[in-house]
């Protein structure tokens, strides 16, 4: 019985922690972009205020599917959180496999997609169709990388992959397979929908894409979902390529570095068109990933 309470407590703690961390990261990102554009930019804790304000505002709904979508999005993402070791904190990551995490993320995106398209706004459907196309673009190289890693270390659990890189920082995958780490970094930017690959939430073209109809608490929920997704994807990257970490602080620090690099990298490039985005992902990242995989297999 105690074990269950401990588990639930741990469960809620991790959720709150990652939400807070995710929002902090988003604040830092806005600060960095502002600094790059030579302006002060909002305070770092701005996302907390946004979320608080959003939950305070009234909101409109377009029926059951609109609410169910938002709930499923956030729920799916929270569920994914527990299959990734965050530094020393890991709840179920023993059994969790990498492929499972990719598909659990899919629940969240499917939920969000279903909810937003349920609003009946054509701009939301256009946004979702762009998001799905782009997902096909970046997911393929990512899975090839995972294929290579799993084959190399003969374990498909994230915890196992992390352990495999223990010892000195030299045998981190970043140094063992630098090309693969670079490809994963580009894919990471695509996954998080940051600047060059954010054609699905293009504010000017399709009125911020899928979230066109979500105001108030729906926007708040989607913001939280985005924050946890950022943490999950960063955690995955750190575990797979930077050898994870013993305690949470170092882990957060590593995630921060990757996040800052990604934001800087992102804020330099204009937005990709959809098919150019897919073509880009299938030309260089996929090519390098396949070469790397072949190198590993043979």
């Amino acid at each position: 019985m105690i074990d269950i309470i401990y588990r639930i407590g741990h469960f809620v703690l991790i959720t709150v922690f990652s939400m807070a961390l995710g929002l902090l990261f988003m604040g830092i990102a806005r600060k960095i972009v502002a600094r790059i554009q030579k302006r002060y930019g909002p305070p770092v804790y701005q996302p907390y205020l946004d979320v608080l304000k959003l939950f305070g505002k009234d909101a409109i709904t377009h029926g059951f599917i609109f609410d169910f979508g938002a709930i499923m999005a956030l729920g799916g993402v929270i569920a994914t959180l527990f299959f990734i070791p965050l530094g020393s904190w890991q709840l179920y990551s023993m059994e969790g496999t990498v492929i499972l995490v990719i598909y659990l993320l899919a629940i969240a995106s499917l939920g969000m997609a279903m909810g937003t398209v349920g609003s009946g706004n054509p701009q939301a459907s256009v946004g979702i169709s762009r998001a799905l196309m782009q997902m096909l673009g970046y997911e393929l190289p990512y899975l090839v990388i995972l294929f290579a890693l799993i084959y190399r270390y003969q374990t498909s659990s994230v915890w196992g992959l992390m352990q495999a890189q223990a010892g000195s920082f030299l045998n981190w995958n970043l140094f063992a397979y630098p090309l693969m780490a670079a490809v994963a970094f580009v894919v990471l930017i695509g996954m998080m929908g940051k600047k060059p690959f954010d054609s699905m939430i293009a504010p000017s073209e399709i009125g911020s894409g899928p979230v066109v109809e979500s105001g108030g608490k729906y926007l708040g929920m989607l913001l939280l979902q985005k924050s946890i997704t950022i943490i999950i994807e960063l955690a995955l990257y750190v575990n797979l390529f930077l050898g994870g970490a013993e305690n949470i602080l170092i882990f957060t620090f590593k995630m921060l570095i990757v996040w800052v690099l990604a934001t800087m990298f992102g804020s330099l490039f204009p937005r990709f068109r959809i098919e150019d985005g897919i073509k880009f992902f299938w030309k260089w990242p996929l090519g390098i990933a396949i070469l790397q995989a072949i190198y590993i297999i043979t």
Binding site: V12, F55, G56, K57, D58, A59, I60, T61, H62, G63, I65, I71, M72, A73, L74, G75, I78, A79, T80, F83, E95, T97, I99, L100, Y103, L104, A106, L110, A113, M114, V117, S119, G120, N121, P122, Q123, S125, V126, S129, L132, L136, E139, L140, L143, V144, F147, I150, S156, S157, G160, V212, E213, K217, Y218, G220, I274, E275, I290, A293, I297
Partner: protein
């Protein structure tokens, strides 16, 4: 004893035909009753793998014996056929009110069920061939009973392909019969192993031809789209659910029982796998890719789902062809799961067609408000098809991935990954165009489908979730099959399967997912209650929209993605076959004009010419 499972449906077919003439619902009721009887008696048969039945016949100087036997593999297929047919029969009781050919439908449907059980229990080539022909012919009549013109052409192309392949099968079977003296699989297996590898591989390839056609594998998959797209709406679930699987059953028989793998053991291998089975796996991979790309382009939802069946078949072929224990059980799992969620999708679409009358996606929209249960069925099915964790679809795909990664086949894995991610796209397209988005004025007063059509969908939803959480149920029959076929089994518990490098525990996933869902629900209800707003009150940059038609994004949903593959799709395989038949026709026409031009004097001349030629050729003894 086995024969009555085959001949009761066939007999009932004629009764159903006659009764249905008088009262429209009678046929479907009889089909439901017969398939219920089959389901019960077949499940009772579980475990008794020793029942065999054979009777021989000396026909025109040939001594031929027909053998029937039960084994785990055929038991599974028979139960699946019975299960899916009872659901379809229930569904079609009142979904066929205004269907002109409903009596022909029930007649052929029952014969197909009977012949399919016959195929599955057959243990020799001749019985297999007879029931295979019977199934092909009856499904030909069934498909051509679909939409007017296109159904005819689709059935026509289907029958030529499968009949041609069946004749090739007959030729190879008779050739073996002449060598071994009997049609039975076991004697054929011994002969083939003893025979020279080149010849027996050739023979086995010819024998597997009809199965490749029926399973819709890459080069011969052209008939699937039209046949599924245009078949009557009640028959497409069966067509894509069960008929594609019979092709797979045939492939399993060829691979394992006719010891195709034993024969190609010593041929040149590619990374530990005989080249030929790697080629089959490659074919599976190509099927996935072509099926997926073409599925994304379709505007007609039934054609889209038909192409998705082709691409899912690719997974099963890959699983079987790489011949590892994980691969085999993965493909069997996927086979069962595909049957379940694919027939749910088709039933849901049939319900939509029953209510709206059209299969074009851009003519519909917002049906979630009018047909919530159909939406729920469709949603669970596509979550399963896309392979999202809490459902059974993910488990089978996960096992196949484990098998692929364990052996390190890169290209197959890429094709599999591409197939499963792209399946999100073509699975979400009908969801958003048909069920979500703007509700068209003409669909304002659509009601939910009648009760009898709801029951099959409800049952299927429960089965998807049940197998999703407890895959163990499926695993024990699969292990018996792999035991029977001589493949080591995969260890499993009720809710987890041991993969190559990491176990898969579905109960845990389910709990975690519901916990996450509850937290989100709490957060959601904590904030203020939101105000319900109509569908037309959406942000359209200030302009007040009045007609739902112009605010529904449905036509060419993935245009940018399709643009990448425009030229590939343009030169599709069907044109290749079309041109083939076209110059066949032209050659016939050319010959006729040259020789039989109707001028009498030529004919007279020919006889003299024949005399001269044969004499000149030296008609010497």
């Amino acid at each position: 004893m086995l024969t009555n499972y085959i001949f009761i449906p066939i007999a009932a077919a004629f009764i159903a035909y006659i009764l249905n003439k008088r009262n429209r619902k009678a046929g479907a009721v009889i089909t439901a009753l017969v398939s219920a009887y089959l389901l019960l008696s077949l499940t009772a048969l579980y475990g008794r793998w020793d029942i065999t039945q054979s009777f021989n016949l000396s026909l025109m100087g040939y001594k031929i014996d027909f053998l029937l036997a039960v084994n785990p593999l055929s038991w599974l297929f028979a139960v699946m056929t019975a299960a899916i047919s009872i659901l379809i029969a229930l569904f079609s009781i009142n979904s066929q009110e205004n269907f002109k050919f409903s009596s022909v439908f029930n007649l052929n449907f029952l014969i197909i069920i009977g012949s399919m059980i016959g195929i599955v229990f057959a243990r020799d080539f001749l019985t297999l061939f007879i029931f295979w022909e019977l199934m092909t012919w009856t499904s030909f009549y069934l498909i051509s009973a679909g939409k007017k013109k296109m159904a005819g052409r689709a059935a026509y192309r289907y029958i030529i392909l499968s009949a041609g392949a069946a004749y090739a099968f007959l030729m190879a079977a008779i050739f073996i019969f002449q060598q071994t003296g009997s049609f039975a699989f076991d004697s054929a297996a011994e002969f083939l192993v003893a025979n020279s590898p080149a010849q027996s591989i050739m023979l086995l390839l010819v024998i597997s031809l009809p199965f490749i056609v029926k399973a819709g594998i890459f080069p011969l998959h052209i008939w699937v789209k039209d046949a599924h797209g245009n078949a009557p709406k009640e028959f497409s679930p069966f067509l894509s659910g069960m008929m594609l699987k019979i092709g797979i059953y045939g492939m399993i028989v060829v691979f394992y029982q006719l010891s195709f793998f034993k024969i190609i053991e010593n041929t040149i291998a590619y990374r530990g796998l005989p080249l030929l089975s790697y080629l089959f796996a490659l074919l599976g991979a190509v099927t996935i890719i072509t099926g997926t790309i073409l599925a994304i382009r379709q505007e007609d939802m039934k054609k889209l789902v038909a192409y998705s069946s082709i691409s899912q078949m690719g997974y099963i072929i890959i699983g079987i062809a790489i011949a590892t224990p994980l691969g085999f059980s993965g493909s069997m799992l996927h086979l069962m799961n595909h049957l379940i969620f694919k027939s749910t999708i088709f039933l849901a679409l049939a319900a939509v067609i029953y209510r709206t009358g059209t299969t074009k996606m851009y003519e519909m929209g917002g049906l979630i408000f009018r047909m919530p249960l159909t939406f729920a069925a469709y949603l669970t099915a596509i979550i399963a098809l896309a392979g999202i964790p809490p459902t059974n679809g993910f488990i089978s795909k996960w096992v196949i991935y484990q098998a692929l990664i364990e052996k390190g086949y890169l290209f197959l894995a890429i094709a599999a990954f591409f197939g499963s991610i792209a399946s999100f796209m073509y699975v979400f397209k009908p969801l958003s165009t048909v069920f979500l988005g703007q509700l068209k004025p003409q669909h304002q007063n659509i009601k939910e489908v009648p009760l009898l059509m709801k029951i099959p969908m409800l049952i299927l939803i429960l089965v998807i979730v049940l197998f999703g959480v407890f895959p163990g149920i499926q695993m024990n029959i699969i292990n018996q099959i792999s035991g029977y076929l001589g493949i080591e089994t995969v260890n499993y518990t009720l809710y987890s399967i041991q993969g190559a490098n990491g176990a898969w525990n579905s109960l845990l996933i389910f709990n975690i997912f519901s916990a996450g869902f509850i937290i989100a629900l709490l957060l959601f209800s904590f904030a203020k209650k939101s105000k319900l707003v109509g569908l037309l009150d959406t942000y359209s940059s200030g302009e007040y929209i009045t007609d739902a038609e112009s605010y529904h994004y449905a036509y060419q949903y993935y245009r940018p993605f399709d643009r990448l593959f425009d030229n590939l799709a343009a030169k599709s395989l069907t044109d290749f076959y079309e041109t083939l038949t076209k110059n066949l026709v032209r050659s016939g026409e050319g010959l006729r004009r040259a020789l039989a031009a109707g001028k009498l004097q030529n004919y007279a001349l020919y006889s003299v010419l024949l005399f001269v030629i044969l004499a000149a050729v030296g008609w010497i003894i």
